[in-house]
């Protein structure tokens, strides 16, 4: 039952073949069984989830019309606040904090009858590409427990790959939905900036952060996208327009005549051979499906990574200033003699991990007087150049494609104290965040050299999220046919390991 797709589970609940309570209980049991090894969850809200599930069952019994994912369990990245449920962002500084309000995404999920199982592990404040930066220990990749599940949303993607949840919410600032999806063989979508409300998403980098759906299939992601997307009067940067028709697009399974651009700068040197091999095969699959393949150049993408590592730390240095021991969260060193300032300093020293401190200090530097123009100011200009590159590319093609991540999942600890090497994981995903448009990662096979999942990234213009689903849905169908079933069937953990 837990290996089904979310849409199948929803249909079973709606048809009365299974209660949401039983479905939820099955997932809670799975979590109890495997999460000790995977560590996808930081908090499991069994009671809350079962209560929500029973409410859906009651509504169904009364004959109320259920939303398309009603009764289906979901794993929520711990960066999203849920009223009364611990929210830590993977940080010690928020240990024990129970927010007094719901994120807009959470409100929408609750209204849709989606059952929230608990909060998933992540790199502290979403800073990282491996989930090793969580203050609560790393998450393990269900495909190989010695490897990372990607990051920052490693917990969400791992929960899908371990069949602990059929749906998850992630957030993507530089690739935190797409890269974990790639290395766990799942689907992840970064919607257009402003397409999903950020209200209640604990900010890392406000102008880059975007919440989005994670699932095991393109259609499931689309169904979730439709629920969480749309305008919000609590987020000024939310787009006041209907959600693009993503579900219909996911069902089209037809890319005939679409112009698909291969970004010359996202590939080649620095990319693992097996990743490139699977990517190139995917290009041929698309050509075979009748798409027109065009090579395009985005010359400024090489400046995306440096720009990102100025903008994101700068914004985070300001966003994370509120964690000061005064109103919520951790307080260290309050001995009645120390001043508020000293207690702030000690709390932030004790409560933040090394990567967070590194980025706060870097961002403080980039914004300080005398350096602003050279660093933050220049990075904002690079942003303009990258937008221009995208505009030029989308004048020629409908979508762009690239590998999602240069490598498959690496070993836990392998890049732990080499920030620059770690930052390279996001080289293909970051340009999208800088420009604010949308992208998806779908599995495109296993790398021959290590047998680990490879992700393919599809990029579309702002507010054309439906194109991601059209291409993703068509490719997924073609792959499943070629593989004789979803990629997840090939996961070794399904027979040994986690399973």
């Amino acid at each position: 039952m837990i290996t089904q797709n979310a849409s199948e589970m929803a249909a079973a609940v709606a048809a009365g073949e299974i209660t949401s309570e039983a479905l939820t209980q099955a997932h809670l049991s799975r979590i109890a069984e495997v999460d000790e090894k995977v560590h996808a969850f930081l908090h499991v809200d069994a009671e809350g989830a079962l209560a929500q599930a029973r409410a859906v069952d009651a509504a169904r019994a009364k004959g109320e019309k259920l939303s398309p994912l009603a009764g289906v369990p979901l794993a929520l990245k711990d960066v999203m606040v849920q009223k009364g449920v611990p929210t830590t962002c993977g940080s010690k500084i928020l240990e024990g904090w129970r927010p007094p309000y719901d994120a807009t995404v959470v409100t929408k999920l609750k209204n849709a009858g989606v059952v929230i199982l608990g909060k998933t592990n992540m790199d502290e404040f979403a800073m990282g590409s491996s989930t090793e930066n969580s203050a609560y220990g790393p998450t393990h990749n269900p495909w190989d427990l010695t490897r990372i599940p990607g990051g920052s949303g490693g917990g969400s993607s791992a929960s899908l790959a371990a069949f602990e949840a059929p749906l998850a919410i992630g957030t993507d600032t530089g690739g935190s939905i797409r890269q974990p999806a790639a290395v766990t063989g799942t689907v992840g979508v970064k919607p257009t900036y402003g397409g999903v409300s950020r209200y209640g998403l604990v900010a890392f980098s406000s102008s880059l952060d975007q919440a989005g759906p994670c699932a095991r299939t393109v259609l499931d992601a689309a169904l979730l996208h439709e629920i969480i997307g749309g305008h919000d009067t609590y987020d000024s940067t939310s787009i006041d327009a209907p959600v693009p028709a993503v579900v219909a697009a996911a069902k089209m399974r037809n890319v005939k005549g679409m112009r698909i651009g291969v970004v010359r700068e996202l590939g080649g040197e620095g990319y693992q051979a097996g990743v490139l091999q699977r990517f190139n095969e995917s290009v041929e699959v698309l050509r075979g499906l009748g798409a027109e393949i065009i090579e395009v150049s985005c010359p400024h993408f090489e400046y995306a990574l440096p720009a990102y590592y100025l903008i994101a730390p700068s914004e985070c240095s300001s966003n994370l200033a509120r964690f000061d021991a005064m109103r919520f969260g951790l307080r260290v060193g309050d001995d009645r003699a120390r001043s508020a300032e000293e207690v702030m300093n000690l709390t932030r020293e004790a409560g933040f991990g090394p990567e967070v401190k590194r980025r706060i200090i870097l961002g403080t530097y980039a914004l300080s007087s005398g350096y602003y123009d050279a660093y933050y100011g220049s990075a904002q200009k690079v942003r303009t150049l990258i937008i221009n590159d995208f505009n030029a590319a989308f004048a020629q093609v409908d979508v762009l494609i690239s590998p999602t991540s240069p490598t498959t999942a690496f070993k836990i600890g392998e890049k732990a104290d080499d920030p620059l090497a770690m930052y390279l994981n996001d080289i293909a995903t970051i340009p999208v965040n800088l420009a604010g448009n949308c992208a998806m990662s779908i599995p495109c096979g296993l790398a021959p050299e290590d047998g680990l999942p490879v992700g393919l990234q599809i990029i579309a213009p702002a507010m054309a999220d439906d194109r991601l689903y059209r291409v993703g849905g068509a490719l997924e169908a073609a792959f499943n046919e070629a593989w004789g079933g979803p990629l997840m069937n090939m996961a070794p953990s399904l027979t040994g390991g986690v399973r």
Partner: protein, 96 residues
């Protein structure tokens, strides 16, 4: 390029009581990172306009209407300390 003293000053601005070993470690790392990110200056010409918001939105306002507040209990629920319906914090050193 970036000295130990610079890092100590930044840490003070950012209100983090870094340990000496952390300052040393960070100074070295920041040097490397800044060297890498400084590349943005290569293309950031005077003719390029900066982008602060990824979308061209403007004039997003809400009407001047009261929305419900939290209850004081909710507001103070996460406070490390509270007293008299207020957040209790250590002594504030500053101006009078």
């Amino acid at each position: 390029m970036i000295s130990r003293d610079d890092v100590a000053h930044l840490a003070q601005l950012a209100r983090i009581e870094l340990e000496a070993s952390e300052i040393d470690h960070l100074a070295g790392q920041l040097e490397v990172i800044l060297g890498a990110v400084a590349r943005v200056q290569e293309v950031a010409g005077a003719d390029v306009a900066p982008t602060s918001h990824p979308l061209p939105l403007k004039n997003v306002f809400r009407p001047d209407v009261i929305r419900p507040s939290l209850t004081p209990e909710e507001a103070l629920s996460g406070a490390p300390a509270s007293e008299e319906q207020r957040f209790r914090v250590p002594q504030i050193l500053g101006e009078e």
